[in-house]
Structure formats: C-alpha cells, structure tokens
Symmetry: C3
Subunit: 263 residues, 3 copies
C-alpha cells in the first residue's frame, strides 16, 4: 500500500482547489490515503505553514509525502523542490515553508532536487498560478507510487535551500526569555521555549506585569485562569482553562515571555 | 478491509491537530477509511458533540469506530473509555459526549473498558493535553485493525458511565411541549420532539406569539416563510424556506416550543 | 479499485451531514476514495455550485462519480438525476448545478436517468429534506461499485435537463466585454472571458475608470498592485499581488469588465 500524502495549503475551504489536487493524485496513485493538515493557513503566511508542518510531520509513518502549497512566488523564479529525509518526503516551493522540518535533519541525510522534469507534471506547460495542481500534486503522487526522487529533477545542495529562521529562546539556569510563535484554534499561545529547557527546575512565567503559574494540565487552575505548561507540540504554551489565552492576554506573535526559576 | 473510523472534535480547521490524529491512525491501520464528522464543535461544548454523534452514528456500517475528542477535562482524573455496542465502537473521554449513542442501547448489550493499557497508546507517557493523539487515535486504529476491546483496559460497569441528560418533550394527545436542542449550518432549529410523537394527528406549532404551520417539505411554504417539519434527524425542526430560521426567529438552545393538536 | 466519488454541497462544516453521506457510501462501496470538492458553497447558491463543479471536474480520472447536493427544491417536484458522460458520472438534483459540466458535452454523448428506482436508495421512504443522504449518496456509491446507470431509473432526454445560463463574453478583435462570475478564497475575481480569447493579441483591462495590465504571473506587478491574467481555471481573472482583488476593487458577481486591444 502506498504511503500517505499530506496536504498543507492556504487555499481555504470554499473553492475546489484542494479537491482538484486530490483528483490529480487519484489519477496517479489512487490507493494511498490523502490527509489534510490544514487549508486555513492565513494567505501567504510562510511562517504559519512552516510551524504547522514542523509540528505535524513527526506523527506520520515513515515514507509519508508532505506537500505544502503556500506559494506567493508561484510563477516567478523561486524553485520548486522535493526532498528525501530519513522519515519521508517534502514537496513544495523553496521559500522556507519546508525548513522547519529539514532544519532538524543533518544535511548529510537530505537528498534534494529541483523539480525540473516535466514528465512527472500534469502537463509540460504548468499554469503560472497553480503549481499545486500542475507540479506539486502529481510529483507527490509519483513519489508515493514509487518513483525515485532523483528522477524528478536536478540535484540541489541542501545548504542552498531557503530557510525561515525563528529566534531561539535564551536559556540560563535563572531565566528563559522566549516569545510567542503561534496561536491555535483554542487561543493557546505557543512559545519558542522547548519542553526540555524547563525539565530540571520549577518556574513561574512573567508576561509583562502578569505572573502565570507553570503546571502540567489545564485543569490545575480554576476555570478562566491562565496556566503555562508543556503543550502537545513539545513547546511551553500559555492556556486559559476552558477559555482563550489569546483573548485574555492579548499577546501577538513575537511578544516576549519570560520564565523565572523559583528554586 | 477494516471498518471506518470517524473523528468528531472541537479542534477547528486551522491547526494540524486533526491531521496528526490521522497520521497516527495511518501508521497503525492504513487501509480503512477515516471520516470526519465535524471538527467545528464549539470549543468544549459537550452537548453539541453528543447531539452530532447521536444523529450521525446510525448511518455508518456495523463495526465503525467512532472517536470523539471534546475533552475539557484532559489530563485530570476523568476516565478515557472505549465501548463496544452491537453496531460498533465508541472511543473518547467519559464526560457524556458518547452518551447520546449508548443511552439508546440496553446496558446488557454494552461492553465498556477504561483505557488503562499503555501498550495501545502512542507512548506510555501521553501528553496531558492531547489524548486525541496519544490515546484515542491509536486505540481506535487498533480496534479497527482487530484488537479486542477487552485488551485495551479494565472492564467498566456501563451504569457508571457519565451521561448528559436532555429533558424529554412532554407529550399528550392535545399538546407537546419541547425545546430547541440544536441549530444547524442552515439555521434550522432542531427541537427535542421526536418524529413519532406527531405521526397520528395534525398540529400547529406555537413559538411565543408566532404560529408556524406543520408540513413535510421546505417548499410547502413561500420563500422566507417558516415551517415546522420532521427533519432528517428524526426530530421536529423549524425551518424557513431558503433562509435561516435562527436568524428570523432568534431562538436559542433551551427555548420552549409547543405543538397544539388541530384535529 | 472503485473510482473516486466527489462531494460538493452547501452543508458547511459544523454539522455531521457530510459525514453521514460518507457513512452511507462506506456501507456500499468502502474501497474507493471519497473527495470533498467544497461544503462551503453559499446556502442554496446554484450558480456557485455549478461554477465549482465545472472547474474541478476536468482534473479527475475517468469514471469519477461527482455528487452535488445544493438543493433548495428538495422534497418538491424537482427531479433527482444521474448522468453518464464520457469522462464519468454526475449525480444530483435537476436544478442546473450539473449543467456547467454537461453543457460542454454533446447531447449524443450523454445518458441521463431520473432516479426512480428505490432499490438503490437508503430506504424506499427518503426524508423529504435530505436526499443527499437517502438518494444521492447511495446512488453514487452503487455507481462507483459498478451498477449500470440504466438500472437507477427511467431514461431522460438530456435536452430536457435544467440549465443555468451564464452570458458569454462578447469578443471582437478590438475589445472583449465580459463580467465577473466568481470570487475565490484569495479574493481573485474570475471573469467570463476564456483564455483562448486573448491568446493572439496584447490587451489592457478596463474596470470602470481603472486600467489593469494583462500579464502571466502575480509577481509581475508590485506587491499590492492589480494584474489581469489567465487563471488556473482557464478564465481571465483579476488578482492583486499578495492581497485581495475583491477587497481592493469592490467588484461583485455580474459587474462588467473590458479588455481593449493594444496592438
């Protein structure tokens, strides 16, 4: 059975664009599952696409083909790429959306190609506005069906790939300074502080003048109260029990948060 | 071929949380269909989740595994459960979201377990905030792949399961008093009055000072006019032809409606 | 392996209606992929459903079964129909939603039936409000599973099918007058001017007093500037680089646009 193909786009859910990509895939590799990560990435928001893929990819079986189509440069000189990593494949534009995943892999373990072989596209003349349909979906389906990465185009040096850099948290034994990197559907605020950084000590969070306790589960604080905890992504996040931390604290992406050691 | 797995959550469609659950399922039981019931249950709204599952489950083939993750108590002492009914399986938190379905089954026909066997989880240390990914999705995939319910944990007495009670309609031959229990995407207002209650007589509906005719199809009244009819769920509902009854009548969940016999 | 079944509805993504249709399909034809085109067609908007199906259908493999349930006349005398075309099947109400696809096929190549054979329905007494569940989904699943079209009901003359007519663009060598027929998730404004009409000359677009250059890719104009180009659907569309043409130009469906020859 072919591996899963995942789709992550900013196409929304009103038009038939996502369905069309699945139609193309069904014509090439009908037997494998096609799984939506999200189609509601804010239009052209490369950082949100990077974050979503980075946090979802580890939960998929080996060999999965992840396709990202958040692509403001479609039709210009930006490269279309496919990567083979130990855990599976990445397909999309070379604009940084894939970099959250491949930056965690040693360059020696990455094979990369520019998609230059029209034989694996929908047609040799792709639409200059919809490479998702004409290049990325058919290429992903061919990969899932067993075509070798190297057949898809010219080899690329992984060092030349476009990256989106997120400033890492500053970590000492007394304090950790990070920032908000994402706000999810529940209004949870996910920071740039990794779980491992807080494992050996106890902490309290400071956000401006507000102190927030650090715990393990939403229910440790009363309804409507804020708590900082290690979220399911493996980052420290701020939540409000049965409500929205974003609505309560009015923080935006990039705002600073601090953890102060209490022991 | 494995039976379908359905997913019903309040995760929304912006983040990758639902995709991650499907990734976990694809790693355990790749061949069966995974079907979304809804991911737009209002956050933590147990009654809406219960209603949606109750009205969808009867249309699925025998053996289907229904997973519900509307779970404000995640990480606290609330139990994680799986049930085997004659028509299939239910997996989710023991907070009442599954009760609309299992309350229609004789307790003698229900097998229930608490999910205490980490062997069928994603890891022995599940995230305290995302049991959907770490417990419910893998357990559902193992059930679909053929693992026996009793392998998943300790047996439970079905009488101890948490229920959400909806006040039943008061039914006499002259009048029926019910209430609004749900409002759907079209603005149709679904009441607590079951279809069978109105089968043998003719009725008119009273909502406050407004009289609404009782009929069979939206098109029996003029565009923009209200009609009460038996909806596809098997409940009496109020609709407005080509418009929204909710917007027109401004009723909310719990508001009283009356049917008066006219014969 | 069975062909794909696609679903296009105005059911939204809050309720379980779409999931229920997939449950019915899974009980009849579990092995084939079921692909969502959109469930966010504006309620009862036949023109938007017609446009979405017309632009998606060409990208699906031969034999695909397309189901449309945008059906304000459900429960009235409007016919339920299924069509067999050289490229696949169409199933839905006879209200024009299917006409964008079948109007591009010679009537001699269309086989049409009215769905009158309850044997292929969910039950002989379908709900008067949800033919998607009780008639269209099971009929589509039976077609995908190999039942012949002619078994589903009485033959129809394709000339009698309901059509939605869109006024074609007026095309001369000096100017082309068309109109806006759709606005997508990105705010791109899709006109009624087909790609072939502009192939042999160079043009400039006039929208009221505004002149818009005609090009090939979004990135040919500066951020925030408008461009007219051939969109991925094969129609001339108006886009704004990295923003929304609809928000900028405030055009609505039906508004006139002109192309003036510049050579």
């Amino acid at each position: 059975m072919p591996p899963p193909i995942t789709l992550l786009t900013d196409f929304g859910d009103r038009d038939g664009y996502v369905g069309v990509m699945k139609g193309i895939i069904a014509g090439i590799c009908p037997a494998g599952p096609v799984i939506d990560l999200s189609h509601n990435i804010p239009p052209q928001n490369l950082a949100a696409a990077r974050f979503t893929l980075l946090n979802a990819a580890p939960y998929f079986p080996a060999g999965t083909v992840h396709v990202v189509v958040v692509d403001p440069g479609v039709g210009t000189a930006r490269r279309a790429i496919a990567l083979q990593l130990p855990q599976g494949y990445l397909v999309g534009p070379d604009n940084g959306v894939l970099s959250g995943v491949f930056d965690r892999v040693s360059p020696a373990d990455i094979k990369a190609v520019e998609l230059t072989e029209p034989k694996y596209w929908r047609s040799p003349q792709p639409s200059p506005t919809f490479h998702g349909r004409d290049i990325f979906a058919p290429v992903a389906a061919h990969l899932a069906a067993g075509v070798a990465l190297t057949a898809l185009g010219d080899s690329l040096d992984p060092q030349t790939l476009t990256r989106i850099a997120i400033p890492p948290a500053e970590i000492t034994t007394e304090q950790i300074i990070g920032s908000i990197q994402h706000s999810d559907h529940f209004g949870n605020l996910i920071t740039t502080i990794p779980a491992a950084a807080i494992a050996d000590q106890t902490w309290v969070m400071q956000v401006g003048a507000v102190e927030i306790p650090v715990g393990k589960a939403y229910g440790e604080v009363e309804l409507g109260h804020a708590i900082a905890l290690v979220g399911s992504h493996g980052w420290v996040e701020i939540a409000v029990n049965s409500s929205s931390a974003q609505a309560r604290l009015r923080l935006v992406i990039g705002d600073e948060v601090r953890l102060m050691a209490t022991t």
